[in-house]
């Protein structure tokens, strides 16, 4: 056994660091550090910088313009990018749709869509969840009925993240009600400006607009926008879930969050002594820090295991659960660390361009909001309860 990175990986890490230092705009990293909201322009700017370097589509094979990185390299990038407070890469086109297209899309679909994902011409959003379906995707109700060269789509999607910026949506729709519920689902690509589509913001509990409802009212979609075969959409959607292995654990984000907690706890004082030296708070930090160090290794064990693909389902579930628990614990510690200064909430302070004087510690403004916002991470993408069901069934056979 050897827990050290290889010389190649270490060199790669240096390259990533140098790139981030040179090319990550400070305007962006400052916003990320302060939990400020990123505008569409902010996100596109960062995508553009990465694309210029050829590092945007990290897991794509080179023939499609990807970086062709190993999973370990991808993880190294994620860790370094998070440590540098880089914006997250918006995953819907790059990491969710693209792998499906590469594996199941027609040559025309690949040729048409993949370059547009890379160069930012298309902003994709995801149309999976529906009201009342939640983690039970197989029960979805949005219908697509064949009518000549088109499908006519009716129904409603929800929790559509960053849908307000998107010009395209990939959807799971029901094309048949026969057989098992999973069997009549198809995978459709839809232009957001097709007549009959309306989008409505959902405001989250702490006041932000990240997710949306999307309504389909007799929306006509050309049949060439079907990915793969009709009624096989469930297979494609599941492929994505088991394919996705990097960064489920969110180790990089948690490391950045830990650094933030420590910074606050060094600044805050208890009887003149830094909070970070308060025995109870220090123990809270130590506990999560030890957990995180273990999770980083659990994650690398998975990434570097030869039989990783076979186990990806349940092991992803473990990484998802532990990863979100740790991140939420860190969000919790950050708000705890602020004491009474977790209360003030000047929502303008989280918007791009705000220049007012902060209330309390300098980067306190978004901390409590972030804690509440991140309650979502144990819910979306298959709640942690669904993940535990998966572990019970697949690992334990219960």
């Amino acid at each position: 056994m050897d827990i050290s990175y290889s010389a190649e990986d270490l060199a790669f890490r240096e390259k990533v660091r140098a790139f981030l230092q040179e090319r990550l705009p400070r305007t962006l990293s400052e916003k990320v550090r302060r939990n400020q909201h990123l505008s569409r322009d902010d996100m596109e700017q960062w995508h553009g910088i990465l694309n210029d370097k050829g590092w945007l589509a990290q897991d794509w094979p080179k023939e499609h313009g990807g970086a062709g990185w190993t999973t370990v390299q991808q993880q190294i990038f994620e860790d370094e990018a998070a440590a540098a407070n880089a914006p997250r890469i918006v995953p819907f086109g790059l990491k969710m749709l693209a792998p499906v297209l590469m594996k199941f899309g027609s040559p025309e679909q690949k040729d048409r869509y993949l370059p547009r994902i890379l160069n930012g011409s298309d902003w994709w959003c995801q149309g999976y969840s529906e009201p009342g379906a939640g983690s039970d995707l197989a029960s979805l109700k949005t219908r697509a009925v064949r009518d000549g060269d088109h499908y006519v789509v009716n129904g409603q999607k929800t929790w559509t993240t960053l849908g307000q910026h998107a010009n395209k949506i990939f959807c799971l729709v029901r094309t048949s009600t026969e057989g098992k519920p999973q069997e009549g689902i198809s995978f459709l690509l839809i232009d957001m400006d097709t007549p009959g589509i309306t989008i409505r913001p959902i405001i989250l509990l702490e006041g932000t607009h990240e997710v949306n409802e999307v309504f389909f009212d007799d929306v006509r979609v050309p049949i060439e926008n079907l990915v793969g075969e009709e009624n096989k959409g469930w297979t494609y959607a599941k492929y994505l879930l088991t394919h996705e292995r990097t960064n489920i654990a969110g180790v990089g984000f948690s490391r950045a969050a830990l650094a933030h907690v420590k910074a606050i706890a060094r600044d805050q004082k208890v009887r003149g002594r830094p909070l970070i030296n308060d025995p109870l708070f220090a123990a809270r930090i130590a506990k999560v820090e030890m957990e995180l160090a273990a999770l980083a290794t659990t994650n690398l064990r998975v990434l570097s295991a030869p039989d990783a693909a076979a186990n990806a389902g349940p092991i992803s579930s473990m990484l998802k659960i532990k990863g979100t628990e740790i991140r939420q614990e860190l969000n919790d510690l950050a708000r705890r660390a602020l004491g009474p200064y977790a209360l003030p909430f000047v929502s303008e302070a989280l918007e791009p361009g705000w220049n007012g004087e902060p209330i309390g510690p300098e980067d306190a403004a978004g901390v409590a909001a972030d804690y509440f916002n991140n309650r979502k991470i144990s819910i979306y993408g298959g709640s942690n309860e669904v993940q535990r069901n998966i572990i019970s069934k697949m690992v334990m056979g219960l």
Binding site: D136, I202, P344, A368, E385
Partner: protein
């Protein structure tokens, strides 16, 4: 031993509950919270008429209540209704005046109880965190009066109060109990600057700076340098009120969640049929009962010895802090996505529950404090 409310308390509870049901729906509440002062002067005078404010004060001070169970009864309903009116500020500021004021100073309480005067306690400071004795603000003798300098942090309703009750050091060092004095300061006095803001859970607070504020001799409440015992008792009342408010909010979260578990279907059955959720819900129920018992203990010990009172109050605040977070997080998690939305009321209860832990001492603070007091007492 008797764990039932008096007839007066039951009437008070019903009155407040009915008022909230009729006039303080969640949409109204959001509007009020988003208004410039963060509360409604109109509702506030109705509270006065209904006797809600008076219930927080003893008869000797012009009220008709003021006991531990009066406070817990009112604040439990406040928590249930997510009410953002300045009740806690009134308890804190009003009780300090009631405890230490002379007749002339106590005359202000009439206006407080009538809903005409808003008072606030300006005690916490940018560096004080939850420490009760941390006072750096200084008041110096200035002829017959005083000159006040310092900064106060996260003062509840500090941007709306007409009268501020300000703690300041007239002697001793930063962490001494002795040497802390309380002063009545008109909010519009020269040199007072309040920067108000909303809090994430829908309340209003302010950062307040005092720059060479000149006060006359009548501004001092009680003995010079001897305010701490009354201040501590006032903070105990605040912590009790917050703990009781948490109970009300927890029970709403519990009820909303049970209802959701019964009606929401997934994989073909109500999700309440899933045993994992049943067991977690059963745990919440038990924990809430435990939190309620801790609040009963605190309310019942409010008039006992300092040691008994502070132990019981720290226990209640620590337990409601811990359990409040648990209820908030679990209720959201068991709901799933819907609970993450602004439109669904649960999230607002969750925010309040978590943030109560940030007022006047969180779980860790009160756990360590409990241990310290118990160690000194040798119990």
């Amino acid at each position: 031993m008797d764990f039932s409310l008096t007839d007066e308390q039951r009437m008070l509870k019903d009155t407040l509950a009915r008022f909230v049901a009729d006039n303080y729906g969640i949409e109204v509440r959001h509007e009020i919270a988003a208004s410039p002062e963060g509360f409604s002067r109109d509702i506030w005078s109705q509270f006065a008429e209904l006797g809600i404010i008076g219930a927080l004060f003893a008869e000797a001070d012009g009220g008709f209540g003021g006991g531990g169970f009066d406070l817990s009864t009112v604040f439990e309903e406040i928590g249930r209704g997510l009410v953002v009116e300045p009740l806690l500020a009134s308890v804190l500021g009003g009780n300090a005046i009631a405890s230490l004021g002379d007749e002339a100073q106590k005359a202000r309480l009439e206006g407080v109880i009538a809903g005409e005067t808003i008072v606030a306690l300006a005690h916490g400071e940018p560096q004080s965190r939850y420490d009760h004795v941390h006072v750096e603000t200084r008041a110096e003798r200035d002829g017959d009066g005083w000159r006040l300098n310092g900064e106060k942090a996260v003062v509840l309703n500090g941007d709306s109060a007409g009268t501020l009750v300000v703690s300041a050091r007239t002697g001793g060092e930063v962490w001494d109990e002795e040497g802390i004095s309380l002063f009545l300061v008109p909010a519009n006095a020269e040199g007072v600057t309040a920067r108000g803001y909303p809090t994430i859970d829908g309340l209003h607070a302010a950062e307040i700076a005092f720059e060479a504020v000149t006060l006359d001799g009548g501004a001092l409440l009680g003995r010079e340098g001897g305010a701490f015992p009354a201040l501590e008792e006032t903070l105990a009342r605040g912590a009790l009120a917050l703990s009781a408010e948490a109970i009300g909010a927890m029970e709403v979260c519990r009820d909303i969640t049970i209802e959701y578990l019964k009606t929401r279907r997934q994989f073909g059955v109500p999700i309440g049929k899933f045993q994992a959720l049943q067991h977690r819900m059963a745990t919440l129920l038990m924990e809430i009962e435990q939190a309620r018992s801790s609040v009963i203990n605190a309310a019942g010990c409010l008039n006992r010895s300092r040691e008994e009172r502070e132990l019981a109050v720290s226990a209640a605040k620590a337990m409601t802090g811990r359990i409040g977070r648990m209820v908030a997080e679990e209720a959201i998690q068991m709901h799933g996505g819907i609970a993450m939305t602004w439109e669904y009321s649960l999230g607002h209860y969750a925010k309040r529950l978590v943030m109560i832990d940030h007022q006047f001492g969180d779980v860790d603070f009160h756990t360590a404090r409990y241990a310290e007091i118990a160690a000194v007492a040798g119990v």
